[in-house]
Assembly symmetry: C2
Homo-oligomer: 388 residues x 2
């Protein structure tokens, strides 16, 4: 779907883009040539930044009709040692604001022309998420604030990316954690943002409070243990004014759940994924000064979350099953199903869609995402293929 | 120590090398330019193949005075599923020969001119190993067979690379597992090689027997469990004629010991190192049809071998210690110490040598190998640095 540069580059007003983003034109033409900035075909065509270009985040989307820009969502750094990170990064603010980091997928909702679009982290328009955003967010906020973008987490069982059932959400809900200016990416202070969302009846992620720097460590450790106990992911720690960049910190349980998921499809995930998570466990154990019993439990859980899912996958393959991940979407319009199927092809996901099932005024569609690399690798090893 | 190509390339008789290795001259000059073939300065200068060039293995060493070649030791593939691998790879031989894979370091000993050299896997001359080889192997064999190279494992507590104490070896011993032609790399059949070594009084690695293909799986599984029980590494399964390439298979205990070691110096090891070892555990568990109890134990051990060494390292650093690995060498000549110190610098190992300690007619030298990347990373995270 991504075609020749020369064919599409002329759709992009490079001069205007260069001026608005304050990067030289030749950086943009260079990025187009290297396909760092890619044309994406669709009902609403756009150019997306596959990686950062100068100071502009990867995931930035540039629309052509009408011309508009939605800046990519910046990567949030993680701390492995809570206390020293608080002292080091937030020493210039008196307090930090702590909000929940939910386990769903990151979405930016913006008004482009007269239509809402929901952008994925990578800067693609997801047609399914867009249908959901139209329902969940609506136009009211954007009529008053067309220059803003709502950044939030899409969470719930009807998520084709990160389906989670423990949040007590029926289908899919949207929780805002950031409001930014579309073109500059400038964020709004935490409490102002939360008040604004309340005004429009749009849910925000859970707020745990503002804590003095000196006390934040104990408070957050306690929050993390409680969140972990109910399988929730963790927190994002923020400068209340949103001048300093935020920092994330997560629970061991969420970490292990990620590993469990990734090792079921072990050959489809990056190896760094695994390594970073083992490191998080070790540093958290040291910071918490764990006794032998807790440490033993942590080791056991780590080992089980690595091996058991992988063993399950190998056994499935041995029994002739295809390694796939079952997800589902719930839509009002069957057109959305078709568009979503095309979208998954566009982003390279191999998926089998089952026939829609009418439930109330909606359709439930079960989808099997095929993890081909894990299928191939497991089958080969079971057949006696050697490991390099 | 590796200087400009043009300065050194003239030391190499490229035409002769091209003829003997049967690769075009331009491949060699190209490799010299890209530093895939590198000049190595030393008492005995050589050129080493840093990576494979055409069909020539990485680790191949080419000497200039006198001109000679020692082919690199070929990589041995590993099976994660024993039975299917036996069927798939050795179906054309009636039997397989099984020898122990010892846990030391791979060395090729050859006669170049009138002197023995001991080459590391990478194709460098290790001065320490060379001193040891002169003692352990001697010249008798090479006087009769100057065209052959002895490939074996250097094993024992006085190993600066892989010190192991469980083999009941006093200092360092050499066990032959392959005899090859220096220039062609052609291997000798297993029993012929073992008989030849016996003749010269040079030890070979342990031989478990020759097994019919149909029975080999049970026999080898049993051997692996026993070897694992005493912390030994595993086996190499060979075509007795050495026509088909051999295959290695290792115990879970050795796998876990590797992880324990690597996670103590977690940031100095490749991430693939971890991933491959987790995969081995999962496939072995499936092939052995483990019950819940054995599986639980395997998970616990995996988790402990990942987390405990890393936690130990973090705590050490927290207490202000430097993360280092203690090894030792035992030499007859203090010149060898000096040469070995220079050699470690050449290959980029950061090491602190303590004063030699006279023991009998030898010197024991304790060496602290500094794992700088793990030191830096751990210190930074403890100081609040964020994880990307």
């Amino acid at each position: 779907m991504r075609r020749d540069v020369s064919e599409f580059a002329k759709k992009l007003d490079i001069g205007k883009l260069s001026g608005l983003l304050d990067i030289p034109e030749h950086r943009i033409t260079g990025a187009l040539k290297r396909k760092t900035v890619q044309y994406v075909w669709g009902k609403k065509e756009l150019f997306r930044f596959d990686k950062p270009v100068s100071s502009i985040e990867g995931g930035t989307s540039v629309f052509t009709k009408p011309f508009d820009i939605v800046r990519g969502f910046p990567k949030i750094s993680r701390t492995l040692m809570l206390n020293p990170a608080l002292q080091k990064h937030f020493s210039s603010c008196r307090k930090v604001a702590v909000e929940e980091k939910m386990n769903g997928y990151n979405v930016r909702v913006a008004l482009i022309g007269d239509a809402l679009v929901a952008l994925t982290r990578g800067g693609f328009i997801c047609p399914y998420t867009t249908e959901k955003a139209i329902d969940l967010v609506g136009l009211d906020f954007f009529k008053d604030h067309p220059e803003l973008v709502l950044c939030g987490e899409m969470v719930g069982p009807d998520s084709p990316y990160v389906p989670k059932t423990f949040y007590d959400i029926e289908s899919l809900d949207f929780f805002v954690f950031d409001i930014r200016e579309k073109i500059t990416g400038k964020p709004m202070p935490v409490m102002k943002r939360r008040a604004l969302m309340e005004e429009y009846g749009i849910p925000s992620v859970r707020f745990f409070g503002e804590f003095e720097i000196g006390e934040a460590h104990n408070e957050i450790s306690q929050i993390i243990r409680e969140l972990g106990g109910s399988m929730h992911e963790g927190v994002v720690i923020k400068d209340p004014q949103m001048i300093l960049p935020p920092v994330k910190y997560t629970s061991s349980q969420s970490n292990c759940a990620d590993l469990r998921y990734a090792f079921e499809f072990y050959n489809d995930f990056g190896r760094d994924f695994f390594f970073g998570r083992v490191c998080r466990e070790a540093f958290q154990s040291v910071e918490w000064g764990e006794d032998e019993e807790s440490l033993k439990k942590r080791c056991r859980q780590l080992g089980e979350n690595l091996l058991l899912p992988m063993i399950k996958t190998i056994k499935k393959k041995k029994d002739g099953e295809r390694i796939a991940e079952n997800v589902q979407i719930r839509v009002k319009s069957l057109d959305t199903v078709k568009e979503f199927e095309e979208y998954l092809k566009l982003v390279g996901v191999d998926a089998v869609f089952e026939a829609p099932e009418k439930i109330g005024n909606e359709y439930l569609v079960r989808i099997r995402k095929i993890h081909q690399s894990t299928n191939d690798r497991t089958e080969a090893i079971l057949g006696g293929q050697l490991w390099s």
